[in-house]
Symmetry: C2
Subunit: 493 residues, 2 copies
């Protein structure tokens, strides 16, 4: 492990390579035998589980319930909503047969040509179609509304170029699908969920985000409006971290889902959908980690504190353990996830490097001399700073330290974003500076043509129109046409 750590590429050398290596070396995930699909390893999955549990609790606090809908979607369902099929149907896994049989020539098994499906089934790329096909039978009256449902599931999009967590053919996510009696209520829920995502990103991932609205080009296929949270990675690129879509009545119309309103008149149902995925794992890694490995915010770290004994013989270890055990108990009582690593098959230096690589927020090291002095050495993963502290009252101080790390990580990330956010007035200046990464606050004339031109010429896209942006008279940096507010433009993952 020590050797592996030494081999980690530096961020300044090759950020992309650093990321790919770190995902593997920190035991988060690896490529599988199936093209574009990853295996999420136990340590990576433990972080994802913490994300899931937190989000699930936050959803339920807003009245959302979980359910489960089929993995496979009849091909004809995808075609019902015209824009949706344009945006989604193309690159996906298609099930055409339901049986294998022994190869008559003896080479294992082959697809049984007699078992061809009448209608092909698609492995869900997202579930609006199958869910709205189901809601038709659930919704009859305004009394059946709102319907606030979420699903934790795997989905597939046949991506040509994949990167672990950031873009994989199969990924894990949650997708919320709400049905409402009024446009206002649906819009309110759409905004509520982007706020839940932003809260989660900032309070748990320690990742500052910009909340905004997508341009028409970047909208979800079938939505009338898409909200997004956009985060800046350490290389200055944007990462879309969660989206919430106001679907208007598009899916209700496509699947003929109506309800009798309070005036006893039939009306199409109003819809929204919202999701985050294992992509958040990529965002987490690229927001905080450094050349020594992962840096995890305490609120999502599977192990928040590791305690490593330094000893020459079993007597010393016994002495140390006697002092450490009550601290472990106290930390557990305080809700801290702690590991006392007294395994004797790895040296302390080896352990230090390993837990650094894994991003454990706080490390305690305690040896015979510490015991004599009633002290312990504490190291913070975020700053790599060591300090000697009294053993007396250490548990309470660790709790405070964890909160401080959580806060510091957020502030460090916010500072980085602020330092790389630029108000730019001219397209020439933009084209010059975009190479260095960062968020650009620019005036844009609001047309898809200009948006397309920026993308083609600079590989940057309009990330969002920030919700908190102020009206400001200006002119589009590309065309000189009038503009009323600045948008965020950046290159993105």
């Amino acid at each position: 492990m020590a050797k592996e750590l030494k081999d980690l590429t530096k961020r300044s050398e090759d950020y992309s390579k650093w990321y790919n290596e770190l995902v593997v070396k920190a035991d988060l995930a690896e490529q599988s035998a199936v093209r574009g699909c990853m295996v999420i390893k136990p340590y990576g999955y433990a972080i994802w589980e913490k994300m899931q549990q937190t989000l699930d609790r936050m959803f339920k606090e807003t009245g959302v319930q979980n359910a489960y809908f089929p993995l496979l979607i009849p091909k004809s369902f995808l075609c019902r909503e015209a824009e949706h099929v344009e945006g989604f149907a193309k690159e996906c896994a298609v099930v055409t047969h339901y049986r294998l049989k022994n190869d008559p020539e003896g080479n294992g098994v082959i697809v049984d040509p007699a078992a061809r499906l009448e209608e092909e089934l698609i492995v869900r790329p997202t579930s609006e179609t199958i869910i709205w096909g189901t809601y038709k039978n659930w919704i009859h009256s305004y009394r059946d509304l709102p319907l606030l449902i979420n699903q934790w599931a795997n989905v597939m999009r046949w991506e040509m170029r994949t990167r672990m967590f950031l873009r994989t053919s199969e990924f894990l996510w949650q997708e919320g699908h709400c049905a409402h009696a009024t446009a206002e209520e649906s819009e309110k829920r759409t905004e509520q969920m982007i706020n839940v995502y932003a809260d989660f990103a900032e309070k748990y991932m320690a990742m500052p985000v910009i909340k905004g609205v997508k341009s028409a080009n970047e909208r979800f296929a079938g939505a009338v409006n898409t909200y997004t949270i956009e985060a800046m990675m350490q290389d200055g690129k944007a990462l879309q971290s969660g989206t919430s879509h106001n679907l208007g009545q598009n899916f209700a119309k496509a699947f003929d889902v109506t309800f009798m309103n309070k005036e006893n008149k039939p009306e199409y149902v109003w819809a929204n959908s919202w999701g985050v995925s294992t992509r958040l794992m990529g965002a987490l890694i690229m927001t905080h980690s450094d050349d020594n490995g992962l840096v995890l915010p305490p609120h999502l770290a599977p192990i928040q504190v590791v305690i490593i004994p330094i000893y020459k013989n079993n007597d010393q270890l016994a002495e140390i353990s006697k002092a450490v055990n009550p601290i472990v108990d106290e930390l557990k009582k305080l809700g801290v996830s702690v590991k006392y690593d007294d395994a004797d098959n790895r040296r302390p230096g080896f352990k230090f490097a390993d837990y650094e690589l894994k991003g454990v927020p706080v490390r305690l090291a305690i040896g015979a001399r510490d015991l004599e002095n009633g002290t312990v050495e504490i190291m913070r993963r975020d700053t790599l700073e060591k300090e000697t502290m009294a053993l007396e009252g250490i548990a309470q101080r660790i709790v405070a330290e964890l909160e401080d790390i959580q806060q510091s990580l957020f502030e460090r990330a916010l500072k980085l974003r602020e330092a790389h956010t630029y108000r730019v007035e001219s397209y020439d200046e933009f084209k010059n500076k975009i190479e260095g990464g960062g968020f650009f606050l620019c005036h844009w004339d609001g047309t898809p043509e200009t948006e397309e031109r920026i993308k083609e010429e600079t590989k940057a896209t309009i990330r969002c129109i920030p919700l908190d942006s102020e009206e400001e008279e200006g002119v589009c940096m590309v065309t000189g046409k009038p503009s009323k507010r600045r948008v965020v433009i950046a290159r993105a993952y």
Copy 2:
């Protein structure tokens, strides 16, 4: 809802119809637009979530970690383990293409023939192959062992005849896949997990189970030994509720997974796998429910207590709420999941029937006269018995009542099983009695031929050789050949 309840078929009329109706009427699940696949509705999913959370905690307490492996498995992987492919590969969803395109004739989308996969991918029916293909890179030395991993996932088996929860083409489950350095350790883990399942079934589902070993015929494809827990449903049929497989070195050999043992010699890894699925939902329903609807054991009920106010006007409701709110708070503090249903768009009688149908273990009803008397009416769902109790100290009594219901349900189910378990000596007697259902403890000569004959002639199968069975000299009821212990024979779901 009241009408729907009245329509529920009685168990004595048609048990199978009763089950199918109850699943739908109690809002647990429904058929989807995709053949053989169900939608798990929020109320059904809430029960499954409670099962998941409990099992997940129990697994982790034994050292198991979660991970995630790909949904799709290359066809060639399935053929590596010869018995495994025989048992599994045939009826499954096969992905052959990765792209759709617009139909040139304008009829929606069609499969793009140019996007044919070089090797077909199978939607996992179980994950031994992809996981052992992965373990090859994870395991090198005895120090990497044991590997104790579980996955919560969806799987597909293309079933011809499906029933909700009991047998669906797609279902949700967990699959544990452990790797060990010795045969003994792997066998120990295999047994440990069937014990975990039995504990879960008995303590949470209140469902008595018989732990046993499967006959060779009924073993998992690729296993050297399969442990099972078998439960008796109310109609006397058996339901296999969980299995744990000792896989020997079969998968390690198939995927060439070796490790250097302590003597520094290469050796194949020892494996086991174990799983339970949404099938447990079917077992839960058919163990406890009655002609009025679901009966849920308190340990798995999403709502454990419902409180229904009976009032004539808003003043009365306000008075009742004032008395009820502190009880709700106290119950929540005691960890009880409670719902105060003061919705005014449904009458009390309607609510009573609905919560009965949904199996809420305890119902409180409180009206103006109760308030005057300082009492409340409490009804237990398991017995439908009502009692008037003092409001004073009601929360503590509810907690006791919930535990009593949990225990009573288990005992009632155990009694039913005991009353329908028969020691039978002659095959004629067996053939006579099997029509009435039940578990039959019989002597069997141990041959697959006899097992096959019993199955063909009576539709009954050897459910298991019970772990706690005592040695007993006897003769096979079919062939008269010698037998050393009785096995459990029954018709099964």
